[in-house]
Structures are given as structure tokens and as C-alpha cells.
């Protein structure tokens, strides 16, 4: 780089941004700062990181240091202004580097291959063979061989023979540009997602319908939380229409929208209902096997058919997409206060009768068809366990890992027998008289935790990924190859000198040419 006193400020800035050194510095900064973000837990409860800092710097300094780091943005560093600025610098550097070098590369791409002079052949010539036969025939054979190798060639006449020359793969020099462009595409897609996208969650209890989803917000005051409840209730009643909800609440639609943004409430534009949720486990363990939600989407009061079905299934790795919003199976749990409205579902097979599905509310009793028995729900545990040491039953989890219901069976108002029926243990379904009472589900007590996402930028990112794969392939596995064959007529033979260049994978190209020449020798010597 020349230190030119006539360089303007813009020239100097361009020089910095177009240097590979600058790129390397930015890479290094992004990499090093990213490392910090993996050690300091991002978006975590302050206590966790204070504890971590205490281990490194001493407990007395920890809270102060935590506040300092928080102020600098390290607790959510990947969205901090300086990290985003680094990414922007990276993008700018990439763009400037590409533009800066494009003219030269374009020249190399576009410049047609020219025949070599004899001195150039002396310098670049790689291989020489002498073949017996008429020059014309050998030229034709050589031409055929080059064509077979995939090169369309040009021909000139020389004083003592001919020269065949060819090139291919000029455009592969642009592979690097395609790769760099793809990085920019991905960054653009990410930005579109950040500014125009929505990422949130929806905990949907069994049986409930929601028309909004929720994003993480900062801390809300109790007054704000109450306000938020009011808005949610209003939106629920009008299937998410902000206009109607604003009318109901007596405010301008615009101010309602602002409040919703503040509280992280996003109207879906349709309603989603959880018909049922189920978590299956591998036998004899609490390791989850599948989580599945059965969902119905309604719009304007009527259920929507997707793929001809009204009920959609959402599983991990199989999300549900509708109108630009995607729902992912993320978690599940027990709805607080869901007990009262839940329904026990049993499947009864009396000793000599047919199987019937029956339901029972959580209080009260229910008849068991095909028998004289009535059942009464005494107790329920979402995850029942047996403590060997005390001989007592206890609930070991807050999830429906091993649901069990304690039922007492009455005949003629007298308690006949009772016991725990476990959903996952068929042995517990057998009643003394030979009836089978399967505990199918306690419906209404679980909620399905769905991750809700609307990302208009994701397609740009995917496009960027495809472009990157293409660019990498071209940049690494394809090259710009040139070949020159000098055919010299001599007394009884014809001499061929080969020169070739390739901007990558030279040995592979050389080997290919060697093979081509072996074939050529054989075909000429073998007589044609």
C-alpha cells in the first residue's frame, strides 16, 4: 500500500476496509467476544452470573463487576450495540473487499485465452512427447483428445506446425464472490428477521383457544400486568381482531397496538385450540419418547382444513405452519388451576361386555357400564412413585410422567374395593371381578408449550445457505484451466509440447492431461 499524500480521507478509509488484514482483525474480535458470551450465561437470572463472576474474581467484587458487565451489554451481548456494530463492520469490509477486487477478477474471467509465444512455451511447457505420424493426423488426434477432456479449442497455424489452445472454467473464479455474497444474504436475512419477525411462545391448555402469542418482555409492574390481562381478555373475545378489541376497550386501535408491542402480545390473525396433548415415555423409564399436540385452527368462527384435515398434529421436529406463523412443540406442563375443569377419561371393558369410553368430573361419582359398580375419584397424582424406605407413595414430579388415579368402587352404596390405577401400568387396570378399567387421560390439566415464530427473513437466510453451498463448491472444487498444445512438424515425427495452468488443484489437472496424453499416444501408435 502506497503512502500517497494525495489520498483523500475516503481513499484511506477504502484502503482500510478493503484490506484482508482488517477482515482478519474483525474475525478475531467477533470470535473472541463470542467466546465471552458462551461463558457468561446470556439472558440468565442475575444470580447465576454473579456466582460465576465470584468464582473468577472473588465474591466481594462480584456484584460490582456484574453491574459493570451488564451495563456494557454482556448479559445479552449478541444483541448489544457493539456486537451488532462488529457484524456491520464485517459486512461492510466484506462488501468493500469484494468490490475492490472485482474489476481485476472480472478481467481474468473475461479475457480470452491467447496462443503462447515460443518463449512462453519454454517457460510454461510441462510435457513433451514425440509421435510418429503425419502432422495433420496427429493434430486431429490431439484435437479429439482435448475435446474428450472437455475443452473446446481454437487453432492457429504456426511456421512449423500448429497451436491448439483452450480454456474452461473462467467463471469459477467468481466462486469466492458467490460465497461472500451468500454471507451478506444471510446477514440481511437475519436483520429482516430481527426487525420484522416475531419470536414468542404460547402455553395452550387442553381445551382452550387462544388468538394471541407472547414474546419475552422486560419486567412489568403489577398495574401493567393487570392492563395486559384486560387486553388479552378483550382480544380473546374478538378472535384477535385489534380493531374490535380497541372498540371494546374504548381506545384507539393505534394506542392498543403500541401497548401490545410493549407487553409482547402478538395477535395471530386466527385462533388456535388445543384439543389434546400427550407425552409418551419409554417403558420403565421417564425418558420422553414423543410429545404430541392435537390442534384445531379456526378463522372467522370456522375450523380451517389443512391437508384436508381439521385436526393438526404438532410434534418435536414436525412444526405446524399457518399464514406465516409456525408453531413448534417446545414444552408442556400442568395448568395452574386446571384441576377443577378437568375430566377423567377411562376405557372400561367389563368381564363379559364390550369396551366403552367413559368420563368423569373430578368430584362426584360415575357409573361403570356393564356392571353394578360406581366409581368415585379419591385422589390423583401426576407422577406417582413408591418410596422403598418408608413404604409410602409420593408424587415425584410436576409433570404427567406417571399419572395415577385413586378410585374407590361402590356396589349398592357400599365400598367394595379401591386402588390406584396407573396410566402406564396395564397390570393396575385389572379389577378383582375381571373387569378392565384403563386410565386413559386426565384431560384439561395439561398445557402444551408451543414456540411461536414468524420470521419473514428465514427464506433469505435459506437462500443464502444454498448460495453459500454452491459458492463453496465452485471456490474449492472447480478451477480455471487453460491448456496449450504446440504441434511441431519434424522430419519423421511430430513433437507436441503441452503447457497448462490452473488456478487450483493443479496436480489433478496435470494428472488428467497425463492420462489424455497416454491415450493419445496409444491411439496414434496403435494405428488409426
Amino acid at each position: 500500500m502506497e503512502e500517497n499524500k494525495n489520498q483523500t480521507l475516503t481513499d484511506k478509509i477504502w484502503d482500510i476496509f478493503s484490506s484482508v488484514k482488517f477482515a482478519v482483525v474483525i474475525f478475531a474480535l467477533i470470535a473472541l467476544t463470542s467466546i465471552i458470551g458462551t461463558i457468561i450465561e446470556q439472558n440468565a437470572a442475575p444470580e447465576k452470573n454473579i456466582k460465576l463472576i465470584g468464582k473468577l474474581f472473588g465474591d466481594s467484587l462480584a456484584p460490582t463487576l456484574y453491574n459493570a458487565f451488564d451495563f456494557l451489554g454482556f448479559m445479552d451481548m449478541y444483541h448489544s450495540w457493539w456486537f451488532v456494530a462488529l457484524l456491520m463492520l464485517f459486512a461492510a469490509n466484506l462488501t468493500v473487499c469484494s468490490i475492490d477486487r472485482l474489476p481485476l477478477i472480472w478481467k481474468l474471467v473475461k479475457e480470452p485465452v491467447k496462443p503462447l509465444t515460443d518463449e512462453q512455451f519454454k517457460k510454461l511447457g510441462k510435457k513433451e512427447i514425440a509421435l510418429k505420424g503425419k502432422t495433420e493426423k496427429i493434430k486431429a488426434a490431439a484435437g479429439f483428445a482435448i475435446k474428450k477432456a472437455g475443452f473446446k479449442f481454437l487453432e492457429t497455424k504456426e511456421v512449423d506446425g500448429y497451436q491448439l489452445y483452450s480454456e474452461k472454467g473462467n467463471y469459477t473464479r467468481l466462486g469466492v464472490y458467490i460465497t461472500h455474497l451468500s454471507i451478506l444474504l444471510i446477514l440481511i436475512g437475519a436483520i429482516i428477521g430481527i426487525f420484522f419477525g416475531f419470536k414468542g411462545f404460547l402455553n395452550l391448555p387442553e381445551g382452550k383457544t387462544y388468538s394471541v402469542a407472547f414474546a419475552q418482555t422486560g419486567h412489568l409492574t403489577p398495574a401493567q400486568e393487570e392492563d395486559m390481562e384486560k387486553i388479552i381478555a378483550a382480544l380473546q373475545s374478538v378472535e384477535g381482531s385489534t380493531l374490535k378489541a380497541a372498540q371494546e376497550l374504548g381506545m384507539e386501535e393505534q394506542s392498543l397496538k403500541l401497548k401490545m408491542k410493549r407487553y409482547g402480545i402478538r395477535p395471530l390473525g386466527f385462533s388456535i385450540k388445543c384439543n389434546d396433548f400427550n407425552a409418551d415415555f419409554y417403558s420403565n423409564s421417564d425418558m420422553p419418547k414423543t410429545y404430541k399436540s392435537w390442534i384445531t385452527i379456526t378463522e372467522n368462527g370456522a375450523p380451517v382444513k389443512i391437508n384436508g384435515k381439521e385436526i393438526q398434529e404438532i410434534e418435536v421436529n414436525t412444526p405446524l405452519k399457518y399464514k406465516g406463523v409456525t408453531f413448534y412443540q417446545s414444552s408442556y406442563g400442568l395448568t395452574p388451576g386446571g384441576w377443577e375443569n378437568s375430566v377423567f377419561k377411562f376405557r372400561v371393558t367389563p368381564k363379559d361386555g364390550k369396551t366403552e369410553d367413559i368420563e368423569s368430573g373430578v368430584e362426584g361419582s360415575f357409573r361403570i357400564p356393564g356392571t353394578n359398580l360406581t366409581g368415585k375419584i379419591e385422589n390423583f397424582s401426576p407422577a406417582i412413585g413408591f418410596d422403598q424406605s418408608t413404604g409410602k407413595l409420593f408424587t415425584y414430579a410436576e409433570q404427567m410422567n406417571n399419572p395415577a388415579v385413586l378410585v374407590s368402587f361402590y356396589e349398592n352404596n357400599k365400598r367394595k374395593y379401591g386402588g390406584w390405577i396407573l396410566k402406564r401400568s396395564p397390570e393396575t387396570w385389572k379389577l378383582p371381578e375381571g373387569h378392565i378399567m384403563e386410565f386413559v387421560d386426565l384431560w384439561g390439566i395439561q398445557y402444551t408449550g408451543l414456540q411461536v415464530r414468524d420470521d419473514p427473513g428465514v427464506w433469505v437466510v435459506y437462500l443464502g445457505c444454498i448460495v453459500m453451498s454452491i459458492g463453496l463448491y465452485i471456490a474449492f472444487f472447480m478451477s480455471h484451466k487453460k491448456i496449450w498444445l504446440r504441434i511441431i512438424e519434424e522430419k519423421n515425427s511430430t513433437r507436441i509440447i503441452v503447457a497448462m495452468t490452473a488456478n487450483k488443484n493443479r496436480e489433478a489437472f496435470e494428472r488428467k492431461i497425463d492420462n489424455m496424453f497416454a491415450l493419445l499416444s496409444k491411439s496414434v501408435e496403435g494405428g488409426k
Binding site: A23, A31, T38, L56, M287, V316, C465, M468, S469, L472
Partner: protein, 507 residues
């Protein structure tokens, strides 16, 4: 034969092959070479059979636990790539396959001595860390075909990076020059041995090692400052040199502070995981008392160390043979000490620390002064031997018919295969899978972030070849550092940090 027996056979075969490859390097007897290759192939076949056996065991378990699955689905879901153990085994398999291809293509057995140790250490690590090897069914998030593509391509890339690591390391050894006199070495270690005999119970002894490097380099830096003065006095108007040096030193000091503090405390965390309350309290008190002094001494010492080495290395462009030999010597010794720790825990019936770390309690930090001093003595002898005779390794490598240019070329070639495969299979497919499963293609999860860092390091490698002066040695260092980052991405993140990808957490 079941899969674990077959794995055991392949582990032993690779470790034996490693020894015979080293013997081949030393004696260059062609029968030794053939034996080494034969052993490697045996190990590879055994490992292939082991993977097939494990797949079938998994398949049986999957069909039993998930009878509703179709045969094709069961086959896909039971592919042995589902946890740390299976993936590590697959990594070794890819590495050996890649190496065998190189050996046959270039008809050269010399790489074997550098690649089989990587395979051996990886397999030994499986034993040392006590990681679970049982076949367990997949949780819902992993029940996806993306798992197969993502994992297979990532490990092919890791194997390519491992090869570039080996050739890069060979390059560095082949081009290193020994300069220090013996007295430099002994100055360091006399100071050391006395200090350590006195304080062998303290958790901060490791930090003292680092300070001692400062002494080594201090003796040496004087000579270099003299040389630098001579050079700069010859050039006119080169006032920028001193400023550049100062700025670099300050900048590097700031980076070093964070690095050493994290390093010291990570080491302390391991030691503090004692197995009974009384010991724990004792160690905690000792740790707290020494932590402030330890930290300050550590910071000063390490900054001094790093800055001086880097000044010498990058700015004055000189070799640092002592640096490399001491570091690799300590690394190997600590690995062996950890192995002894593991054996001791096995014998005594207690479990190694949960997050995979062991506290050197069997050797350097043993409560028995005799064992501790003996350990330090053997460490000293070991390091001296490596420093003194490490040069022989260089002669061995130079004696082989591989030019350093060729090593440089293989390093570049393996990275130019590994990088696109890693980008597509690791980053891109990982992002697409995350998008399908969790709704975010990029969440700055520690594993994802460290993969990105790995990507940047190798992108840096590919671009650094365009920088002036970055040929050969510096580039080889990037290749070596890149693989260290790969190891951290692969294992360190799982064991030390927490997140969606994790098996352990840093508590």
C-alpha cells in the same frame, strides 16, 4: 463378539500401531512400516465391525421400545451417532479412514506417527472421562433424519481438521530450531523444584508453573532486546517499531488477563471437587486464602509470559523451541497424570469429578508429600528429556522424504475439504435442523457459537495465506490452533458449559 469387545480390540490396535509408527520413524525399516499399516487396518476393520454390531444392538432396542416404527425408520433412528460416545468413535473411524486413504495415495507412512496418537488419545479419553456408553433411546428432539446428515458431515470435517492438525504440527517440528543453552533450562527447573516441594499442597501450583516460564523467557529476552536494538538502529526513521511493540504488549496483556483468570479458576474448580466434606472445607479455605495472591501472581506472570513470547515470536520473528517443547511436555504429562488419577479413583471406588475433570490428586497434588515430590521430579526429568531430545523428533521428520512444502500442501488440502463440509453439514444443516425443531436457526447457544468460532478460525486460515508474510509457519500454527478450537467445540462445550446441547454444566 459384542460391540464393546470389538471397540477394545481396535483401541489396542491403534495404540500399538502408534508405537510401531514411531519406531518406523526412528528406524525406517520397511517391515516395521508394513506392520504398522497392517495393525492400523486391523484396528479399522475391528472398529467397523464394532460400529455395525452396535448399530444392530441399537436397532433391537429401538424396535422393542418403539414397536410402531417402520423398519426403515428404526434403522435410521438406531444409527450409532447419537451421543458423545458414539460420535467420538465415529470421529476416530473417519480419521483412520482418511489417514489410510492418504497413506495409500501418497505411499508415505510418516503421517501415521502423528495421526494414530490423535486416534489413541480420543479413545483413551473415552475411558478416562467415564462417559456413559450404554445404548439409550432417543429423546424427541433427536428423532430426526437431520441428526444423521448433520453428525456425519460434521465428523468427516473434524477428521479432515485432525489431519491438518497433524501435518501442521509436523511442519512446526520440522522447521523449529533449538537455540537455548542448557543452563537456561536448569535455572528454571531449580527454582521450580524448590518452590514446588514447599507448596505442593496448594491449588495454585499450576499457576506457579506459568510464572516460571517467565524466568526462562526473561533470561532469553535480554538477548533479544539486544538483537532488536541492533536491528532498529540500522533502519532509519523506524520509530514506529517501539510504539508498535508497546501497543501490542498492552493489547495482549488485556487479553491475557481474562485468559489466565479463567484458566486458573477452571483448574481450581476441579481440585475443589473433593469427595468428603472435611477435605472440601480444608481445600476451600486454602483456596480462598491463596486465591487473591494467586490471582495477582498468576496475572502478572502469565501476562509477562504471553507478551514476551508473542513479542519474540511475531514481531522479532524468532523461533521458540523451548516454548513448544515445554508446553507439549506439560500437556502430555498432565494427560498421563489424569490417567493415573482415573486409575486411582477406580481402585479406591470413588467417582471422578462429574464434569469430566480430574484434579491431579494421584500425582502432583497428592496429599502424600513423597508422591508429590516424586511426581514433580519425574515431571522435571520428562520435560528435560523432551527439551533435550525433542530435536531427535525433528531429525526423524526431516529424515523422511517429505518436504515441508508437501506438509504445507496437505494441511491446506485437508482444510479445503474440511471447511466446505463443515460449513454445509455442521453450520448450515445444523441451522436448518434447529429451525425445524426449535424455531430458531441461530440462537447463540454455546455449541453453535463455538462452531462459528471454529469456522472463523479456519476461514482465517484460508485468508491468511493471502497476507504478506503469512506463509508456512504462521499458517501451520493457525491449523494447529484451529483443531484445538474444534476439540473445545466438540467436547469442551458439552462438558464445561451449559446450554441446549449440553451434557454438563459449570456450577
Amino acid at each position: 463378539m459384542d460391540s464393546s469387545t470389538l471397540f477394545g480390540i481396535s483401541t489396542m490396535a491403534y495404540i500399538l500401531a502408534m508405537i510401531i509408527y514411531i519406531a518406523y520413524l526412528a528406524f525406517r525399516n520397511s517391515q516395521t512400516g508394513t506392520a504398522a499399516t497392517a495393525l492400523t487396518i486391523t484396528g479399522f476393520i475391528s472398529q467397523t465391525l464394532a460400529i455395525a454390531a452396535r448399530w444392530s444392538e441399537s436397532y433391537v432396542q429401538w424396535t422393542t421400545m418403539t414397536p410402531e416404527s417402520s423398519a426403515v425408520m428404526s434403522l435410521l433412528r438406531s444409527a450409532p451417532l447419537r451421543n458423545l460416545y458414539e460420535s467420538l468413535v465415529f470421529f476416530v473411524w473417519c480419521l483412520i479412514l482418511g489417514y489410510l486413504i492418504i497413506e495409500f495415495k501418497y505411499k508415505n507412512r510418516s503421517f501415521g506417527a502423528f495421526i494414530t496418537p490423535v486416534a489413541g488419545i480420543a479413545l483413551a479419553f473415552i475411558g478416562l472421562s467415564g462417559m456413559p456408553k450404554d445404548i439409550s433411546p432417543l429423546v424427541p428432539a433427536l428423532q430426526s433424519n437431520w441428526l444423521l446428515v448433520h453428525v456425519i458431515m460434521s465428523f468427516i470435517a473434524y477428521a479432515a481438521f485432525a489431519i491438518s492438525f497433524s501435518t501442521g504440527l509436523m511442519y512446526l517440528i520440522a522447521t523449529s530450531e533449538r537455540q537455548e543453552k542448557r543452563h537456561v533450562f536448569w535455572v528454571v527447573f531449580s527454582v521450580f523444584a524448590i518452590l514446588l516441594a514447599l507448596i505442593s499442597q496448594s491449588p495454585d501450583t499450576i499457576m506457579l508453573w506459568i510464572i516460571s516460564f517467565a524466568f526462562v523467557i526473561a533470561v532469553d529476552i535480554k538477548q533479544n532486546i539486544d538483537i532488536a536494538r541492533r536491528i532498529s538502529s540500522k533502519k532509519e526513521g523506524n520509530s514506529g517499531g517501539a510504539l508498535k511493540t508497546t501497543l501490542t504488549v498492552i493489547g495482549l496483556s488485556l487479553i491475557s488477563i481474562a485468559a489466565i483468570l479463567i484458566f486458573i479458576q477452571l483448574v481450581k474448580l476441579q481440585i475443589i471437587k473433593a469427595d468428603d466434606a472435611a477435605k472440601l472445607r480444608h481445600l476451600e479455605t486454602a483456596a480462598r486464602a491463596s486465591s487473591f495472591t494467586g490471582n495477582i501472581m498468576g496475572i502478572v506472570g502469565f501476562i509477562f509470559f504471553i507478551c514476551i513470547v508473542l513479542i519474540k515470536y511475531l514481531i522479532l520473528k524468532k523461533e521458540y523451541y523451548l516454548f513448544w517443547t515445554l508446553n507439549s511436555g506439560i500437556f502430555i504429562f498432565v494427560l498421563m497424570a489424569m490417567g493415573l488419577d482415573f486409575l486411582m479413583f477406580r481402585v479406591m471406588g470413588t467417582m471422578p469429578a462429574q464434569d469430566g475433570g480430574v484434579g491431579l490428586k494421584a500425582t502432583l497434588l497428592s496429599h502424600s508429600p513423597v508422591i508429590a515430590v516424586a511426581s514433580y521430579a519425574s515431571l522435571t526429568a520428562f520435560l528435560y528429556a523432551i527439551w533435550r531430545y525433542g530435536h531427535i523428533l525433528k531429525k526423524m521428520i526431516s529424515g523422511i522424504n517429505i518436504s515441508t512444502d508437501f506438509l504445507d500442501e496437505i494441511t491446506y488440502k485437508s482444510i479445503s475439504i474440511g471447511f466446505p463440509v463443515f460449513t454445509l453439514g455442521g453450520l448450515i444443516f445444523g441451522a436448518i435442523w434447529a429451525d425445524q425443531a426449535w424455531g430458531t436457526y441461530w440462537g447463540w447457544d454455546p455449541k453453535e457459537t463455538w462452531s462459528l468460532i471454529t469456522w472463523f478460525v479456519y476461514a482465517f486460515f484460508l485468508h491468511s495465506r493471502l497476507l504478506r508474510g503469512w506463509k508456512g509457519k504462521k499458517v501451520a500454527i493457525v491449523a494447529v490452533v484451529g483443531f484445538v478450537v474444534v476439540i473445545f467445540t466438540y467436547i469442551g462445550v458439552n462438558l464445561l458449559l451449559s446450554g441446549l446441547h449440553s451434557y454438563g454444566g459449570m456450577e
